[in-house]
Subunit: 198 residues, 2 copies
Amino acid sequence: MKKIITIGRQFGSGGREIGEQLAKKLNYTFYDRNLIILAAEKGGMSHETLNAADERAANPWLYAAMSQTGQTSFNPNISTNDTLFTLQAGIIKDIAKTENAVIVGRCSDYILRNEDVELLNVFIYAPTEARVKRIMERMDVTEQQALQLIKKKDKERKCYYDFYTDKKWASHSSYDLNIDSNRFGIEKAVEIIASAIE
Amino acid sequence: MKKIITIGRQFGSGGREIGEQLAKKLNYTFYDRNLIILAAEKGGMSHETLNAADERAANPWLYAAMSQTGQTSFNPNISTNDTLFTLQAGIIKDIAKTENAVIVGRCSDYILRNEDVELLNVFIYAPTEARVKRIMERMDVTEQQALQLIKKKDKERKCYYDFYTDKKWASHSSYDLNIDSNRFGIEKAVEIIASAIE
């Protein structure tokens, strides 16, 4: 049976970097935004179109309006979001059949919940100050802009996760293991997760 | 510098047992309800009186009423709760100066936040079904009684923690590491925490 580690993460917590180093340490494949490229190839769609829909939920208000009026293809964004989710879900299930992997985000924990796979679901968080510092170091933004980015991205992730799963994003019980990356640092967090899967 | 691992836990999650086995594995001292005995000795009070106040918050409504009327010793339970908290806080700080220890509950994470100690704050949780099963196996109670116990004890712990600290009980950001004991089992959970402190 294949081993899959899924990583949910607050924006700026270093969750992606932890996932990447974890995959390297364990010799697992690493999946993140590259899932979009695979989805685009599979669905015959442009990377740009899917990129705009990545980890964003379809608009539930538009959905309700559409179903009431019998419309099914009113807003192109809705179909793109759902198409991307469905394409990625298929790819994620295929991955779980064939290789050990670390998958960041994309509701992969929920998509794989009933699959025949050894699943470890991890969530990475950090205090806001630490995340602001990390974002300012990595992106050319002010403290204020970093704070706005955190708010916006975390809202998008929560909306996406809560829309496509029946769990709650960032709630500890949605995951097996929740780690404060600022307390341990990237390397130690990788070690802790590795010790949990071994 | 001494190492202290504090363990917050949902009722029935096995957090106490994890703490006990962790202390044994690392050769640390283990503190749980035995803190009450130490507190009783220090404060010259009976074990029974302090036992009744263990991990229970003073009643904030009575506090407000008392402060408005200038009363300071209206309800004996209030002074017992606060006395126990203060006695335990002193003992916990003394422990952190002299030995490596695992301390279960009693707001020890908050009490030690500014002390000169290597602190690892862990929270143990588990799905309700798993906790009901564990409680039924260990105490002679029905499923319904186990559910009621979970509700009551978790409310008391939340009330106690939220009253005496400025953090939120069971919220992942109040801890460094949050572990689902049902996903890993007691032994593996102990291993994960040990790998985090080493």
